[in-house]
């Protein structure tokens, strides 16, 4: 296992210091770490486990259970494409295929230029204006392949 560098260790320690007193603190801590670093460094698992009196296996088990938590750094932006039924009913699979092709990436991977990590989402709650994608925290509705190109262009150099 690689060593944690200082900023990473600090981010984890800050999250632990402010949140470990909460009942059921593990998810809030993981959220805080990922919000700061973009992912949860595997080398930091032991630190979190020690603070909560858990085993590394338990912490790893939680991280790997939830789709949202990442164990490696994402690209500059995260593009979530909804794959659920309402989007499929509006030809969302075309938008999906287009996203993969444009970014030369599959779900869970990052475009070669490091700009976008592509993630599958199972409902973004915008089902009356499908298909839907979300870039970081910005939601877009009625995203045809053409519209997706505009969205990507808007974010590419932000």
């Amino acid at each position: 296992m690689s060593e944690l560098d200082d900023p990473h260790a600090q981010a984890i320690d800050t999250a632990i210091a402010s949140l470990s007193g909460l009942p059921g603190a593990l998810l809030p801590i993981l959220h805080a770490v990922q919000a700061k670093l973009g992912y949860i460094p595997p080398a930091g698992v032991g630190r979190i486990a020690d603070a909560l009196n858990l085993s590394r296996a338990e912490v790893h088990g939680v991280i790997s259970f939830y789709h949202y938590f990442r164990h490696k750094a994402p690209g500059k932006h995260v593009l979530q494409v909804c794959r659920a039924e309402a989007c499929q009913a509006m030809q969302g699979e075309k938008t999906e295929a287009h996203a993969k092709q444009r970014l030369s990436a599959d779900y869970g991977s990052t475009s070669p230029d490091g700009q976008f990590t592509l993630e599958a989402a199972y409902c973004l709650g915008n089902c009356a204006a499908a298909p839907t994608v979300m870039v970081d925290e910005k939601l877009y509705g009625r995203v045809t392949p053409e519209r997706l190109d505009e969205v990507l262009a808007e974010w590419r150099h932000r």
């Binding site: 959220h31 939680v62 259970f65 009913a89 199972y122 709650g125 009356a128 204006a129």
Partner: protein, 512 residues
């Protein structure tokens, strides 16, 4: 005096450009030397009209929509700020048939008030329910909820009052109220809209629940796909706390109630209440065996009321207007109203709050205007990814828990996803199994393994391999999942699969 303008801050409105429209209006008004004050409100629920712009004129709100940022300068020149005629002018929102035909009880304030303003909330009837609840005993509040006929709006439709009674009757040093805001079903967004458009209503509802059963701590477990709702909830909770509606002494009653938002992490299974509790405790969200019920041993082993957003947000109106008022809406054993969501391939998608009893056909055509593509609607899925696919022949079924059970379907959380005649139902059946495999918590075998085998069997059927034997195998597998799974994920995934196979058998052939 500044002209008041209302534009939605709802995620769906933002997804269609509401932020850009608001900025463009501010800029264009300034350039024209007009003073305007823009309030960001919830969405009226007519998503096809978003971004919707409402201008206050002679004490009325006149709507224009959909208004993109590009159209703003021309609209302003045409007299938008004076509510002048225009092709995009819709008149009073209350007169638009889609809106006028609704019965808005739970969503009464959504789209009207500033979601995070306590003053606005109070000015529109907010906290009257809690005020009355504080004059009643816990048992009397629970009785009121039981008498209202309210059943869990998350999908299980369990009588809310009965659940509460169990928690009320427990002796414990700590009890909890947990709000299930893990709205993962595709085609549903009423929880999100309520949390973004009137979060104080949820805060009030949870406080009423706390006062009723003697719980002093509440948690809202919110899915992480809803950042807009998170911001609205956090703002609303802080505002309520600052005004003494949350805290150690709620409204000077001597009763304590605290509230915290906790974020989920992208696991559909957390919509199942026991796995949600596991997740809140900081664990892998694996489903618990029942008994014990969460009402007896719930969060951290303590008696816990766990209810869906809409169930909790319906409490203020029930307490304010009384059980009979609410119960008088609806049909049969389905009392009150349901915020229905029209989604997928539908021309006029959005939120329709109606008393139970409205038929699918009325919803799809009178409200929804048919498909977005203009092609015939071939099937609808009601109640999320675990809901059955319903063919056109059943569209006259009224929205009612028992009527839906009778046709082998479920109302669930009230999401309706429409598909036109280009849909491949074998593909949708396969997706249901695929989704189950992806989201299974892994605790029980029928769900964990059955879903993967289900995908394989459907593939073989579609390829025409030993069709009859494989169809029989799929039915058998579905029966095993149905009766052998620990929770609804494995237990209900067979519904979309078998309904697709039953109503659309031709789609499951190699010729298709």
């Amino acid at each position: 005096m500044a002209t008041r303008i209302f534009i939605s801050r709802d995620a769906a409105a933002q997804a269609l450009g509401a932020d850009e429209t608001a900025v463009a209006l501010q800029v264009a008004a300034q350039a024209a030397g007009r003073s305007v004050s823009i309030t960001r409100v919830g969405s009226r629920g007519m998503v096809w009209l978003e971004p919707l712009v409402e201008i206050e004129h002679d004490g009325q709100r006149i709507a224009y929509g959909p208004v993109t940022a590009q159209q703003v300068p021309a609209l302003l020149a045409a007299g938008l700020l004076d509510a002048a005629p225009h092709a995009l002018r819709l008149g009073r929102v209350e007169d638009i048939p889609y809106f006028a035909k609704q019965e808005r009880l739970t969503f009464a304030r959504v789209g009207i008030t500033d979601p995070v303003s306590v003053d606005d909330y109070l000015a529109h009837g907010g906290y009257l329910g809690l005020k009355r609840a504080l004059t009643l005993s816990g048992a009397a509040i629970v009785q009121e909820v039981t008498d209202s006929g309210l059943r869990g709006r998350g999908g299980a439709a369990f009588p809310t009052g009965i659940k509460w009674k169990t928690v009320l009757d427990q002796q414990a040093d700590q009890k909890y109220i947990v709000c299930n805001a893990d709205e993962g079903d595709s085609g549903t967004f009423s929880d999100r809209m309520l949390m973004e458009g009137d979060p104080l209503c949820l805060v009030e509802g949870m406080t009423i629940a706390g006062v009723a059963v003697g719980a002093t701590q509440g948690y809202i477990y919110l899915r992480c796909e809803y950042p807009h709702a998170e911001h609205a909830l956090r703002e609303a909770i802080a505002a309520a706390r600052a005004r003494g509606f949350l805290g150690r002494d709620v409204c000077g009653s001597g009763k304590a109630f605290e509230l915290e938002v906790r974020m989920g992490a992208g696991a559909y299974i957390c919509g199942e209440e026991t796995s949600l509790l596991e997740s809140l405790e900081g664990k892998r969200a694996e489903v618990r065996f029942r008994p014990p019920l969460p009402a007896i041993k719930g969060l951290f082993g303590k008696p816990t009321v766990i209810n869906n957003v809409i169930s909790l947000a319906s409490l203020p109106v029930i307490l304010e207007r009384g059980a009979a008022f609410y119960r008088d809406f609806g049909m049969g054993r389905s009392r009150g109203t349901l915020p229905i969501q029209l989604a997928g391939n539908i021309k006029r998608g959005g939120l329709v709050e109606k008393a139970f009893g409205v038929t699918l056909r009325e919803l799809l055509y009178d409200f929804g205007g048919g498909s977005a593509s203009g092609r015939p609607i071939r099937a609808v899925q009601v109640g999320g990814p675990l809901g059955a696919y319903i063919p056109e022949t059943d569209f006259d079924t009224p929205l009612d828990y028992e009527a839906f059970t009778a046709i082998g379907a479920l109302v669930g959380h009230g999401g309706i996803v429409a598909f036109d005649d280009t849909v491949d139902m074998a593909r949708m059946a396969r997706y249901a199994m695929e989704f189950c495999a992806l989201e299974s918590c892994g605790k029980c075998t029928p769900c964990r393994i059955g879903s993967t085998r289900g995908v394989e069997v459907i593939d073989r059927i579609v390829q025409g391999k030993d069709r009859e034997a494989n169809v029989a195998l799929l039915q058998d597998l579905c029966n095993t999942m149905l009766s052998g799974s620990l929770c609804g994920l494995g237990g209900m995934t067979p519904f979309p699969v078998t309904s697709a196979l039953k109503h659309f058998p031709a789609d499951f052939s190699p010729q298709n």
